[in-house]
Symmetry: C2
Subunit: 254 residues, 2 copies
Amino acid sequence: MLSQKIQKHLKQLQQKKFRKEFEEFIVEGVKGVEEGLNSDADVALLVVEGNRRDENDIAELITLAEKSEIPVEFCGRKDVDDIKTTDTFPGVLAVIGQEQLDLEDVVEGPIICLDEVKDPGNLGTIIRTADWFGIKNIVLSEKCVDVYNPKVVRSTMGSIFHVNILRSENISKTLERLKKEFEYEVNALDMEGKDITKLKPKNKAVYLFGSESHGVSDALEELIDNRYTISGSGDAESLNLAISAGILMSRLSS
Amino acid sequence: MLSQKIQKHLKQLQQKKFRKEFEEFIVEGVKGVEEGLNSDADVALLVVEGNRRDENDIAELITLAEKSEIPVEFCGRKDVDDIKTTDTFPGVLAVIGQEQLDLEDVVEGPIICLDEVKDPGNLGTIIRTADWFGIKNIVLSEKCVDVYNPKVVRSTMGSIFHVNILRSENISKTLERLKKEFEYEVNALDMEGKDITKLKPKNKAVYLFGSESHGVSDALEELIDNRYTISGSGDAESLNLAISAGILMSRLSS
């Protein structure tokens, strides 16, 4: 059984305002928890469903946590319904400290910058794809969905621990600083640019994606140095944002 | 108010077995319904939320339906809760006849073949992406999620009406026929192939994707002519299936 205090804390972390207040988030499932424990992340607590503690992969996580002196709590069936963020609780979760990055932490190599990604699955998939292609830096504007939303965390499949993710509070200012202080150029992906096959990967380049429906917001227009387009010859009105980002990232790494 | 008969029918169409029995499916929302009405699809019924009938885009759909002598029914607020497949009913839906294709209908140009896509959002996104790149043919194995599942339909954003989608009942046999009768070659995307940058687009080519976690099933191994890999230099274990398919399709069209 979990104490009431822990139970309350876990429930609170399902809401963005409490995640912000406590600077923590939850990762659920063996794969995500394992990546968290093996990363530099600050793991505050491991919670295991009591009757699954002897399953091999979960037992290994307990050992790993204990080695690092991370507290392990066991919960009953009843607790699970209160704390789970998925339909089926995968037997294990961890409470992890949010990483607070500065601009200086994301200026080695290209940067994927997302101006307005609202769909949690899309954001998670973009992080996972960046991790696949070895792209280390992602900058999120203030209009993006919270990167510590459980659905985002889940769809990163553990990659949230491998990529530097800066949450900007003023994306215009962040892009200005990247240009002036760090000599980055800003490349926007939109409908009226050069064909993406013409893109030459650069280290000091930001790749800026707007919202799926409205494109890059007007406030950022003047900061754009180049525009690229993923041309299509079919009838769809647009590409899914994560697909666009995936295609761009594959071009950067080939 | 909807008649009880129509209400029951709409509810039934939320289940795969009834969609199969009636050979129909539901598309919700202005964009999807519009694409359906403007396509060759057989639209059986338009259902409009009564108090939204005067909204411009919905009024246009009603005119469009009436021109084609498609019956239009109006529903009340209460009906909506029973028939909607999304949290917020977008004001309009259409009942559409399922297209029954033969192999002969998908043998012009390259074919995307999905052996095991379970996630509805992934399948919908793949269909939308194919439509963006002008790829006309998709073959689904018997292990895939139902293409007429409401979540799949929604995430195609209307592209379900632009792409030829063959639902195979025996994917091994379908691939064999494509090879023998139609001279297609089978290219599998997996972890141990040539780098995808080496791929030369061909018209008579199947691009075969296995499941995200297990790859292409053993039963199909002997049918594979070439293997390609989307190489990554990062730490993620795998790419999302829709992202892999998107990257492949962008290579086919560039």
